[in-house]
């Protein structure tokens, strides 16, 4: 029979976001609260001067959180519901399943994205080209985080382990790195540590696109190369090293 790929993707969106959101609207508040709370703290602590940077950083955090949430959701469906085993023994391949789940995470975060976009429209000034750069930046960091999320979920044997992964990833990727504030606020030599995180490059590219930071064209190109390379590496690892079939 001809398999409808759109249906396969839509099934993931229904199960992992729409049905869950309809049943537990409180999850939308929790999704919204994490980026907004850091945005508020940074804004208050800086007497409002860092609000535009933080608003943009919240967008990056939202994309990263959406991706890393994927590992918790996939782990829950795999280990607690055994749904992934049912999917493995079906015509749905890992690519379609994960793509659908990734879209479901975006759908889940739509209310948060709307709120954050309002903040960005109100407090961040950019050009159409800058907006395109930010969009591509968000898409790249999201691709990185879903690759990482899928990779970890296939190794996770229990939801408790997934919660631990989330607890580690969130501060390492979004809270500590200069996502909500300029990198120049980190004293040397600790600043170099920030470059371990791909979100630093994403944040620097975004901050440059809206004029908070001035980077040379060569630096921007270099940051894009690093960001895309890390994303490609994790994408490759997710495809090749993740375990769709147990060993």
């Amino acid at each position: 029979m001809n398999r409808n790929v759109g249906s396969q993707v839509y099934a993931s969106v229904l199960v992992n976001s729409i049905y869950a959101m309809l049943n537990y609207p409180v999850t939308l508040i929790s999704t919204l609260l994490a980026p907004l709370s850091i945005l508020a703290v940074v804004t208050f602590a800086s007497h409002g001067t860092l609000l535009p940077v933080a608003a943009e950083g919240a967008l990056i955090m939202n994309m990263v959180s959406s991706g890393t949430s994927l590992q918790g959701d996939l782990s829950h469906l795999k280990n607690d519901m055994r749904l992934q085993d049912m999917i493995v023994s079906s015509p749905t391949g890992p690519g379609v399943y994960v793509f659908g789940m990734a879209i479901s995470e975006i759908v889940y975060s739509i209310p948060t994205l709307i709120v954050l976009l309002i903040f960005n429209v109100l407090f961040v000034r950019t050009t159409p080209l800058g907006a395109i750069v930010i969009f591509l930046d968000m898409a790249t960091i999201f691709t990185f985080s879903i690759s990482l999320g899928f990779l970890l979920s296939t190794f996770s044997s229990d939801i408790v382990q997934s919660w631990a992964f989330s607890g580690i990833l969130s501060p390492i990727l979004t809270t500590i790195p200069p996502v909500y504030y300029p990198i120049s606020y980190i004293p040397l030599p600790y600043r170099y540590l920030a470059y371990v995180s791909p979100t630093t490059y994403a944040a620097q590219i975004a901050q440059n696109a809206v004029g908070f930071t001035t980077l040379s064209l060569g630096t921007v190109v270099l940051y894009w190369i690093i960001l895309l390379s890390i994303t490609a590496l994790f994408g490759y690892l997710a495809m090749k090293r993740s375990r769709w079939r147990d060993v």
Binding site: S7, Q8, Y19, Y24, R82, D85, R245, V247
Partner: protein
């Protein structure tokens, strides 16, 4: 109408888990059949491991298998087109309804939303669960939750369905309802199910596999399995006084002041003549799966 049979060929499959735990030890069998293949065995006998390997969820450590000629190691895409599986510990997502559960599973198999919904409604009607179709799974009884999971696979077009202990935890009535459903759907597909209920395996199984410590110690129809045990007949004598010395067979005193003798066909005939001549009341039966299972798992001498 004749439906094409599902062909399965398992060749020297072994599986060792981390920690050197041997789950399967050189399992071999093959058949070309539709209907129900019941896989029985004690806990840890290797049933789930075998079913997970055949349903392409788990890689074997060595050996291989083919399904309809497709290799389970290298041709999973072709195999997954025709199979569906309900794992042992699968749970219906609590905040979804039965109809949503079945619809989403069928959509994952590539059906459109409207087709999936229609197919879901049909299978729920067949299961007598149309009144529960919009209730949350968390509000269903344990049996109804299992039925929902079984329905997801049965609603699909899969011609080979794996069910790992689908009736565990169900009450007898619910189990029998599920048996009837499985029996009605087996004509044009093969259902491989594992179970701890020997009565279930005996009632449903067109083919039965008996596993023990990672080995397939018995395989075939009930009749085939009966031929493999030393004493295929059971004679129950309703008297305590009958002298059983010299009888070739296994003698057990039962709680109902009677004697149970497991023996071969020739001995049973002779014994029956003796009992008739003494006007003693007795019954003769072929042994059931419980006795065959015990006998083969114990490794009793087999008839060659």
């Amino acid at each position: 109408m004749r439906y094409p049979c599902v062909q399965i060929s398992v060749s020297h499959i072994s599986k060792t888990y981390a920690g050197n735990v041997l789950a399967l030890d050189d399992v071999n069998f093959s058949f070309n059949h539709n209907g129900i293949f019941s896989l029985i065995g004690k806990n840890g006998a290797g049933k789930t491991t075998l079913i997970r390997i055949l349903s392409t969820q788990l890689l074997p450590s060595s050996g291989g298998a083919t399904i309809n000629g497709f290799d389970i190691l290298n041709q999973t895409r072709e195999i997954r087109e025709i199979i569906a599986a309900v794992p042992q510990e699968a749970r219906a997502v609590p905040w979804m309804t039965p109809l949503q559960t079945i619809t989403s599973y069928l959509m994952w198999r590539g059906y459109t939303h409207s087709d999936s919904r229609e197919m879901g409604k049909n299978v729920l009607r067949t299961l007598g669960m149309e009144e529960q179709e919009d209730k949350k799974n968390r509000n269903l009884s344990g049996g109804q939750k299992r039925k929902v999971l079984v329905a997801t696979a049965l609603a699909s077009e899969a011609t080979l369905i794996f069910m790992d202990e689908p009736t565990t935890g169900l009450d007898f009535i619910s189990r029998k309802e599920l048996w009837n459903l499985l029996a009605s759907l087996k004509r044009d597909r093969l259902i491989i199910l594992t179970t701890h209920y020997l009565e279930e395996a005996e009632t449903l199984g067109d083919l039965i596999g008996i596993m023990s410590e990672g080995n397939m110690v018995g395989f075939g129809s009930l009749g085939d399995l009966r031929k493999r045990v030393r004493y295929p007949l059971s004679i129950k004598i309703f008297s305590e006084d009958f002298d059983t010395s010299g009888i070739k067979g296994e003698v057990q005193k039962t709680a109902q002041n009677s004697i149970q003798i497991y023996t071969g066909e020739g001995e049973a005939y002779e014994l029956a003549e003796t009992l008739l001549s003494r006007h003693l009341k007795f019954t003769v039966q072929e042994i059931n799966l419980n006795t065959i299972f015990e006998s083969l798992v114990r490794g009793d001498e087999l008839n060659e």
